[in-house]
């Protein structure tokens, strides 16, 4: 599903060169649920941005769902994001004046599929809302929803186009422990239904929902272990 080889990313800040990624190799298979962890400055955000097709690597290759995307144009990358990637952000990023349904329909505005009827768009959006168990909040606006419900609307938006990977960046960072569980249960359920999920987090409780944990440090993969071994290692450390 995701195959990354010798990925490098160099930022140039004035005279100084910052090596955010120094050669990352990674393979994530279909229907895996993976946590990516690391301190700030570890290169975790850069890696996620490149995997999410929001950024391009300086060097190395990246194959997503059989497509080589590392050197694509900006417009082509937008299309890849539209069709293959679903994003969930820490602060939800819902449009305040639009209903839950309209927020979920958003990716269809930029879809390549021409001639979708409004009924078909609504059917898809309602199905996505149903999968995050929000069928009863369709016409609510973000200010009428709780934090957990907002994040579930955002998840529904992310899975609308049945993406190859669902990427979540600190999805529970703005939530309390009860709603964190509520949202993580949704991720677990989607994974159970066959969705490939990639979660960036610094909380072990969140990582515990995943099967596999990738830890980064200084732009390199520090460890890549199944959850049980990783958690055991953490306890020892």
């Amino acid at each position: 599903m995701i195959r990354v080889r010798q990925l490098q990313k160099v930022y140039r800040v004035g005279e100084e060169e910052i090596h955010a990624l120094r050669g990352v190799d990674l393979h994530i298979g279909k229907n895996e649920m993976v946590a990516v962890m690391g301190a700030s400055g570890s290169g975790k955000s850069t890696l996620m941005n490149i995997i999410g097709c929001l950024d391009k690597p300086t060097d190395g290759s990246y194959e997503l769902d059989g497509q080589r995307v590392a050197q694509m144009s900006e417009a082509s990358l937008a299309l890849v994001r539209n069709e293959k990637i679903g994003f969930v952000f820490q602060s939800f990023e819902l449009l305040a004046r639009q209903t839950a349904l309209e927020n979920v329909e958003l990716p269809l505005i930029y879809s390549r599929e021409a001639g979708l009827t409004s009924r078909e768009r609504e059917r898809r959006a309602l199905r996505a809302l149903d999968r995050v168990r929000l069928s009863d909040r369709v016409t609510h606006r973000p200010n009428q929803l709780s934090g957990g419900q907002k994040q579930r609307v955002a998840i529904a938006r992310a899975i609308l186009n049945q993406p190859a990977i669902l990427m979540a960046d600190e999805p529970t960072g703005n939530l309390d422990s009860v709603t964190t569980n509520e949202v993580m249960e949704i991720f677990r359920q989607l994974h159970a239904e066959g969705q490939t999920v990639l979660i960036v987090t610094h909380e072990n409780e969140v990582a515990a929902y995943c099967q596999r944990v990738i830890r980064l440090r200084d732009g390199l993969v520090l460890s890549d272990l199944p959850i049980a071994q990783d958690q055991a290692g953490q306890v020892i450390a």
Binding site: D55, A78, L79, F87, E93, R97, L106, P107, I109, L116
Partner: protein, 414 residues
């Protein structure tokens, strides 16, 4: 990259909801456009109203009328072209009458001031006009009582006259004045008819002026040797009025023996020319109005650009999100261009409505001759086209800025 119809419908819906959500700001922003469009459309409405009234008046006045005046060529010394040489003589008018087949009617007109007396009154310095019978047709003025002059009046130099109602009033003649006598320069003239009052407010001025007409031959005789003749002619139709004018010019040059290359010693003018002059004046004013709108739209456009830059900056995170879910730079650009255009078009719409209301107000000003004032359809289209162009032109830079935002940076924006 082709954007779907759904994209466009959503973008326009979003633009409208943005305008509505920030209605005060939108109104203030669009004010420049509103004022510009409203002022231009009302000026155009006033002009087109004026044009309609004036052209209607020209029409009733007769578009196929031609005037002939004596005229000293420009920049020529007076001694080369003395008054006697350029003066129109009675025989020249007779020659024109036989040599110009495109004319329906032709009459010389000579005016001079004399004293007039009736039994009731004596008036000094009244203008008496000498005419041929053709004058009624050429000037489109009928008699409402009595008869017009006939050939015997003209050839026999009979002392008969026509009056208008004002002359009857001023001379204190009986209401049925036909058959009365008046004294013109001491000679007794019989009133044979009453001429209808001038209809036009624009030409011939005041309908209250006393008018006295006598046969042309008599008028020439009364003025001794110093007389002034102008000619009024009527072409067979408006279509041949240019041709008729050319015939008059050719004939005059021939009978005056003017060599090729030498200037005319007369001036022939068709009414068309006045219409053209008026039309070019009106289009000149319209062009100035268009220039003014250009300036106000420029000012309005700068306001639009400013507010669009504010909007892009306020909605940076939204732009980041849209890019993350698959919006291409072109889609973001198009969305912001559409927003600027919708804002400008909304301003244009309000401006046109205000202009229309102004036009209605103009028609109600008494005596302003603007009863036909209305915003023509082309002005409405032009207003919208200009508004859209301003949106496009001044929305471009903010839209470009939005489209170039890095989605990662945009989503991090506070």
């Amino acid at each position: 990259m082709i954007l779907s119809p759904y994209f466009y419908s959503q973008a326009i819906k979003l633009a409208l909801s943005q305008i509505w959500a920030n209605r005060k700001r939108s109104l203030l922003t669009a004010l420049g456009i509103i004022v510009g469009v409203a002022s231009t459309t009302s000026v155009i409405a006033a002009l087109s109203g004026l044009k309609t009234s004036v052209l209607t008046e020209f029409e009733s006045f007769g578009a196929n009328r031609i005037y002939l005046f004596p005229n000293r060529p420009d920049d020529k010394p007076r001694n080369l072209y003395p008054r006697e040489k350029i003066r129109i003589k009675p025989w020249e008018v007779l020659e024109l009458q036989t040599s110009c087949p495109s004319l329906r009617a032709i009459t010389p007109v000579t005016e001079f001031g004399v004293s007039i007396a009736s039994e009731g009154r004596e008036l000094d310095g009244i203008t008496v006009v000498g005419i041929w019978p053709d004058w009624h047709e050429a000037e489109n003025r009928r008699v409402i009582d009595g008869r017009i002059f006939n050939r015997i009046d003209e050839s026999g130099e009979r002392q008969v006259c026509l009056l208008n109602q004002s002359a009857i009033d001023e001379l204190r003649l009986p209401a049925n004045a036909v058959g009365s006598h008046i004294l013109v320069d001491g000679r007794r003239f019989l009133v044979v008819g009453i001429v209808e009052t001038l209809q036009s407010r624009m030409f011939g001025g005041d309908s209250n002026t006393a008018e006295i007409f006598i046969p042309f031959s008599v008028a020439i005789k009364l003025q001794s040797t110093d007389y002034f003749i102008r000619v009024v002619a009527l072409a067979k139709s408006a279509d041949v009025s240019e041709e008729a004018k050319a015939e008059i010019q050719r004939t005059m040059r021939r009978i005056r023996g003017i060599q090729p290359g030498d200037p005319d010693t007369f001036r022939a003018e068709a009414i068309d020319r006045y219409i053209d002059q008026f039309k070019s004046l009106a289009s000149g004013i319209t062009a100035i109005a268009a220039g003014i709108v250009g300036i106000s739209l420029l000012v309005g456009g700068i306001g639009i650009m400013n507010i669009m830059l504010v909007s892009v900056s306020e909605r940076t995170r939204e732009i980041g999100l849209r890019k993350a879910v698959g919006a291409t730079p072109a889609a973001i650009m198009m969305q912001f261009l559409l927003e600027a255009m919708v804002l400008c078009l909304a301003g244009g719409l309000v401006g046109v409505i205000i202009g229309k209301l102004f036009a209605v107000g103009l028609t109600m000003i008494p005596g302003a001759r603007l009863e036909h004032a209305d915003v023509p359809l082309w002005a409405v289209f032009l207003s919208f086209a200009f508004s859209a162009a301003v949106g496009l032109g001044f929305g471009f830079f903010p839209a470009l800025k939005a489209s170039r935002l890095d989605p990662i940076e945009a989503l991090r924006h506070e």
